[in-house]
């Protein structure tokens, strides 16, 4: 091995400083801390996922016992429904033409919820903006930036009621409210936060099974249906998740629209304005995933779509009883790109 020795002598090892050793150890320690919080969140999320399904089953039972909930559109002929849902096929054709080359799938969403104050006199609205960058590479890390938007009265009427209550900036719930609030809330928005983590969300939870590559997701409605399972409610929720959030091809997004158009549980709701005030066409369905955990009454989930661009705009879940916007996700922007702007905020290479 003497030529090996010559190579070793050509390329000597540099000195190793204690500062470098310590700095590296600190970075690892941070990763350990993240790992622990991630695990905490993962088990919480799995729990919520299971409860959400149970809650949905309860909601479906309620729907049957009450015949039809008030916000439910009346029965229509299948043919009329087919026509009313035709915009989904237009959206499918539009989205199929969107470019999907790139190494990162980036979305900017506004997520929020509305809920009653502890005295039940007015409605509050909490929101946050979430920017997400998911790598096409299944081994890569997903980057998130959360920008909390704070809590404010939901409408001008709620604002008037809030003022006459003394304009409080914090609220205390002695016990869990029907909309799932408990403990103390403050109006002030917390600081934005950026972090990266493993992309367990899509690749593990989509269709309840691991997907090592998102490009293995089929791009025909029939194959997509076979993947998302026989249960219609689960199939709808999983298809919506793929359509809105996952790093899939434009072909898969088109197939998702076509699959939704073919499912009887997805009903046309006509021209609407989404939570951000954008005009679009809507469908509604009973979701297992988007009903807040433990919400006692039936709820209805609405998808707002821009058929011209093919872009999904919002997922909005309302209480069937009073129309309260229980939870929503509105997509401001989504695109494939070759870079991830969040990554530039830290040192790389």
């Amino acid at each position: 091995m003497d030529d090996f020795r010559t190579v070793r002598e050509l390329m000597p090892a540099p000195p190793f400083s204690p500062e470098v050793e310590r700095a590296g150890r600190e970075r690892l320690d941070e990763a350990f801390a993240w790992e622990r919080t991630r695990r905490g969140r993962r088990s919480a999320r799995w729990g919520a996922f299971g409860l959400g399904l149970a809650g949905a089953a309860a909601a479906a039972a309620l729907v049957i016992s009450q015949a039809a909930p008030p916000a439910h559109p009346g029965p229509r002929a299948t043919q009329a429904q087919g026509d009313a849902k035709r915009f989904l096929l237009v959206a499918a054709a539009s989205v199929a033409a969107l470019p999907d080359a790139g190494t990162w799938w980036g979305t900017t969403e506004v997520r929020g919820r509305q809920f009653h104050d502890p005295t039940g006199r007015y409605v509050l609205h909490e929101s946050q903006t979430v920017e997400t960058w998911i790598p096409a590479d299944p081994e890569g890390l997903t980057w998130y930036r959360y920008t909390p938007g704070g809590i404010r009265p939901a409408t001008p009427a709620d604002e008037a009621a809030w003022r006459s209550a003394g304009s409080p900036t914090s609220w205390t719930y002695d016990k869990r409210s029907p909309e799932g609030r408990k403990g103390e809330l403050t109006a002030r928005a917390e600081k934005p936060e950026t972090h990266s983590t493993e992309d367990w969300d899509f690749r593990i939870l989509v269709a309840g099974k691991p997907l090592t590559k998102m490009n293995e997701v089929p791009d025909t409605p029939e194959a997509l249906r076979a993947m998302v399972g026989a249960d219609e409610q689960v199939a709808i929720d999983t298809t919506v998740r793929l359509l809105f959030f996952a790093p899939v091809s434009s072909g898969t997004r088109a197939a998702a629209y076509r699959l939704l158009a073919s499912l009887p549980g997805v009903e046309a709701a006509g021209q609407v304005t989404d939570v951000l005030g954008r005009a679009g066409q809507a469908v509604e369905y009973d979701s297992g995933e988007y009903t807040p955990t433990g919400f006692p009454g039936p709820s209805r989930t609405r998808l707002v779509i821009d058929p011209v661009s093919g872009r999904p705009l919002a997922i909005e879940t309302r209480s069937a009883a009073d129309g309260l916007l229980l939870t929503y996700t509105a997509v401001r922007d989504s695109r494939w790109a070759d870079g991830n702007p969040l990554q530039n905020t830290t040192k790389e290479n």
Partner: protein
């Protein structure tokens, strides 16, 4: 608590945990991975520093361990030990810095061959030993001309002192490929050195 039947020899005779047992424990208790870092950080820093330069080694050593930590679930004790597995991550990091490596080899070739008295980085000066200079210059030039795959196999063997089996594990290539690449590369090096026995390059070691 997480002792896996695939991990043999949980503790060595001195009573310390084996690398493989520590890695197994770190699946459930991430902080145990810190001990892997403590054991190998100097060695991995040395390997990166030899192949790239001190600055790159200072910057990238933590990346190697972070990548390994995130992928610790993929470690399979049946396929080898922790050390070559770590060298695999070091190889991935180096693959992202091929230009730094080429710059370094070019600098080594220049400084060893030219004797022009210019000031190079301190790393470069270290190798400017008069007798060995021309041999080392040619060696550096030859290393720079190798394919990335050949260079990886050679330097994991020569600098990392990994066995054929461990190199195969680190680079995730077949065992036989390691042997054939290595004999091809060593033949090339000898030819390029013009019959000069690299062992007799004049270094005192």
């Amino acid at each position: 608590m997480t002792a896996n039947s695939t991990v043999r020899g949980i503790a060595d005779p001195a009573g310390t945990l084996s690398d493989e047992a520590l890695l197994e424990l770190s699946r459930r208790r991430p902080e145990r991975f810190g001990e892997i870092y403590d054991r190998y950080v100097r060695e991995i820093h040395g390997y990166l520093g030899r192949r790239l330069d001190r600055q790159a080694a200072d910057d990238l050593t933590a990346e190697v361990f972070l990548a390994a930590f995130r992928k610790r679930e993929t470690f399979d004790p049946r396929r080898g030990t922790v050390r070559p597995w770590l060298y695999g991550f070091a190889s991935n990091v180096i693959a992202l810095h091929r230009r730094t490596e080429q710059r370094r080899l070019a600098a080594l070739a220049r400084s060893a061959g030219a004797h022009d008295g210019r000031e190079h980085g301190h790393e470069d000066r270290v190798v400017t030993r008069v007798d060995a200079a021309s041999v080392q210059g040619r060696l550096a030039a030859e290393l720079g001309a190798l394919s990335d795959g050949d260079r990886d196999v050679l330097l994991l063997s020569a600098l990392g002192e990994l066995s054929h089996e461990e190199v195969a594990r680190a680079l995730d290539i077949p065992y036989g490929t390691v042997g054939s690449r290595l004999s091809r590369v060593r033949k090339k090096l000898r030819a390029a050195l013009g019959g000069v026995d690299p062992m007799r390059g004049g270094c005192d070691g």
